[in-house]
C-alpha cells in the first residue's frame, strides 16, 4: 500500500481541516505516509499532492528538505545516536564506533535484515543525559556501551515497546466539532470579536455552560476555508 489507505485519508482530511490553507498540512501528511509505509513513497507523495491541490514536485520539494522524512526504506528501528557537543564531550564517538561494530554497519547504513538503520544525528535536546540516543524518536539516556548491546538485543528479540519507524506520537489531537472555534482564513476575517466590545471585561464571562453553543462567525469561516483551500471532496 503506497497511496494513503482509507483510514488515513479520513485522518488526512481531518488534519487538513485544521489549517486555513491546506498546504500547511503537508508535513503532517508526509509523517502520516511515513507512519503507514515506514518511509515516504512516491505514490504517497502524489496522493498527498492530490489531497492538497498542489503538484507532486512541490511535495517532493518540501519532503526532501527535512531529515526525518525518508524517501527510501529504512530499518524497522532508526537508531539515532546524538553527536551534539554535550554528547561529544561525553563519549558519543566511542558509542557510535561501538554501535557500528555491534550492528556491522556504518552510520547511515541499514542492516541486511532490515531491522536497524544507524545514524549519527545532531543535538536531540537531552544534553544533560549525555551520551544519549533515540530509537524511533524515543529517548535512551546516558547510554553505556553495555546498555547499547542490551538495547539491540531487546529490539532484535522484539521485547521492546517501541513502535516501528514512522510512528511518532501515539496520541493525536482530536477536536470535536462542537468545541471547534474554526480556522481563521488569511483573507476572510475582521477584527477578533473579543477585542470589539465596549465593556471593560472583554472576555464576557456570563456563567453560560461551556457546551452552550452560541452563534459564532467562525463556524462559517471554517466552511469558507475548506472551499478555498482546494480540499478534495
Amino acid at each position: 500500500m503506497a497511496r494513503l489507505g482509507p483510514a488515513n485519508i479520513t485522518l488526512a482530511k481531518e488534519i487538513i481541516s485544521r489549517y486555513p490553507v491546506a498546504r500547511s498540512a503537508l508535513i503532517p501528511l508526509l509523517h502520516l505516509a511515513q507512519e503507514q509505509d515506514g518511509y515516504v513513497t512516491q505514490e504517497a507523495m502524489a496522493h498527498i499532492a492530490e489531497l492538497l491541490g498542489i503538484t507532486p514536485a512541490e511535495v517532493l520539494g518540501t519532503c526532501s528538505f527535512y531529515e526525518m522524512l525518508k524517501q527510501e526504506p529504512v530499518g524497522e528501528y532508526m537508531v539515532n545516536i546524538c553527536h551534539g557537543i554535550s554528547c561529544h564531550l561525553l563519549g558519543a564517538s566511542e558509542l557510535i564506533g561501538h554501535a557500528e561494530k555491534t550492528l556491522g554497519i556504518k552510520a547511515g547504513g541499514t542492516t541486511e535484515d532490515g531491522k536497524f538503520t544507524l545514524e549519527a544525528v545532531e543535538c536531540v535536546a537531552a544534553c544533560t543525559e549525555a551520551p544519549c540516543l533515540q530509537v524511533n524518536y524515543r529517548y535512551r539516556n546516558k547510554v553505556s556501551l553495555a546498555d547499547f548491546d542490551q538495547l539491540v538485543e531487546r529490539l532484535r528479540a522484539g521485547t521492546s515497546s517501541i513502535a516501528p519507524h514512522g510512528k511518532l506520537a501515539r496520541t493525536r489531537q482530536q477536536i470535536d466539532d462542537e468545541r471547534r472555534a474554526g480556522v481563521s482564513p488569511p483573507d476572510g476575517a475582521t477584527q477578533a470579536p473579543w477585542l470589539d466590545t465596549n465593556s471593560n471585561s472583554n472576555g464576557d464571562i456570563d456563567n453560560k455552560t461551556i457546551d452552550n453553543k452560541t452563534a459564532d462567525n467562525k463556524t462559517t469561516d471554517n466552511k469558507t476555508a475548506d472551499n478555498k483551500t482546494g480540499v478534495s471532496p
Binding site: 498542489i54 539515532n80 553527536h83 472555534a181 473579543w194 461551556i210 467562525k218
Partner: protein, 442 residues
Amino acid sequence: MTTVAPAPQDPPQDIQPEDLQIVTSRFHNPQGHTLAAYIQSGGYSGLQRALEMAPAKVHDEVRAASLLGRGGAGFPAGVKWGFCPPQVWPRYLVVNGDESEPGTYKDRLLMERDPHQLIEGCMIACYALGLSQCFLYVRGEMAHAQERLAAALNEAYEAGYVGANVCGSKHFSVDITLHWGAGAYIVGEETALIESLEGNRGMPRLKPPFFPAAIGLYGKPTIVNNVETLSNLPWIIANGGEAFAAMGAESSTGTRVFAVSGHVVNPGVFEVPFGTTTFRDIIFSSRYGGGLRPDRSLKAFIPGGASAPWFYEEHLDLHLEKTAVDKAGSMLGSGAIVVMDDTTNIVAACHNLVRFFARESCGKCTPCREGTSWLEKILSRILAGQGRPQDLDLLLDVCDNISPGIKWPPRQTTICPLGPSAVSPIASALQRFRSEFEAYTP
C-alpha cells in the same frame, strides 16, 4: 532523572526558594502534565483572570513584566507584541517549539512535563492581542512532547479552555492546532518556522520586514514566541507583571531555565532567578552543576548554546544577565551552558560545533552554504593531521566572508544568523587555543 530546581533544604544566599519556580513548579509531580494536577495547583487561573481584564490590559501586564524572549535573541516579548500593525486581520500565534540549538534542553521538558501551562500561555497571548488561531509547532524528533501536548489539548478542549467560547465567554474562541516538524534546526528561525508551517522548505525569509508581527504566516501579522516565553504568561497574569519584574535583575526579569551539561558532576536543568545568579554558581554550586569532575580544571564554557562565543575562567563571576553577558562578548542565547574541562580536545570540539552548522545550513545564502562546509572540511583535514600551516588563516578568512570583521555582535552577509554562528566557535578557539591547532599543522 533531570534535576530541576534546587533542593529546599539548601536555600541560596539572597533568594527565597519560592521565588525560584515559575515555569518548572510542576516538574517534580509525575502527574504534572494532566489537567487534574494542573488545575489543582492553580492552573488556568491566569487565563480566567485575563478574561476578566480588557485585552489591552493583559498586554500591559506583560509589558510591565519586562519579559525577555527565551528563545535566543532575548527580545522583550511585550515590545514584540506591539509590532502588530493596527487594523490588519487576522493575526496568528505561532509557538516556536523547535528547540534544537546544541546544548539547549528546556522547551522539551516544558512541553512534556507541563503542557497545560504552555497551552494556557498561548490562550492568554491570543486573548491579549486578538490572535485568532494558534499553531503549536513542535520539533519533529520530540515524539513524547507531541504526545503530551496532544493529550493536554484534548483535555483542555473538552474542559472548555481552548476552542469555541473559552471558559464560557461569548466572543473569545480560538483553536490551537498542534503541528510538528520533520527535522531541521533552521526552522527555529522565526521566518523559516513560518515557511515550514506553510508547507515549504524551511528557509528564512528576506528581511525587512524584520518581524513577522508585520508580515508573517500567510502574509498576515504573526506573533512567534518561544515555549518558555509563553509558559511564563500564566504566572505573570495570575500574579501581576510587577511581581514578575521584581524577580531577577532589573534588565533581566523573572526566572530563567538553564541547562548545564558537559563536564560537570551534576548536569541538569535549573530554573534560577534571571540575572542574579553567576556562572560560577550554576556550574560549581552543589545545588546546580556540582562543579567539575575530580582533579579537573576548567578549560572553557559555552554560555548560551553552540552559536555563542566561548567564556573562560575569568568570566565565571559574571551574572547570568543579558546586558552583562552581551557586553562581555557573548550571549545567554537559549540558556545552554556547556562546560569543557582540561581533557577537552579543543580542535575536535570546534570541529563538532562547526559541523553542526554546516549540516544545518539551509543552503539559501552562499556565504553560509559554502562557508560553513568549507570550514568543516578544513577543520576535518586539520584533525586528520593533513592540515597546512596556512589553514588557520584560511579558516579566519572564510569566517570573515561569512561575518565581516569577525566581531561581536556579528555582522552578517546572510539572511539569518546561522552562518555567523559557525564563526563563534572558530574565533573563540583560535584566539585562545591557537597552539592546539598549530600542534596539528606541521
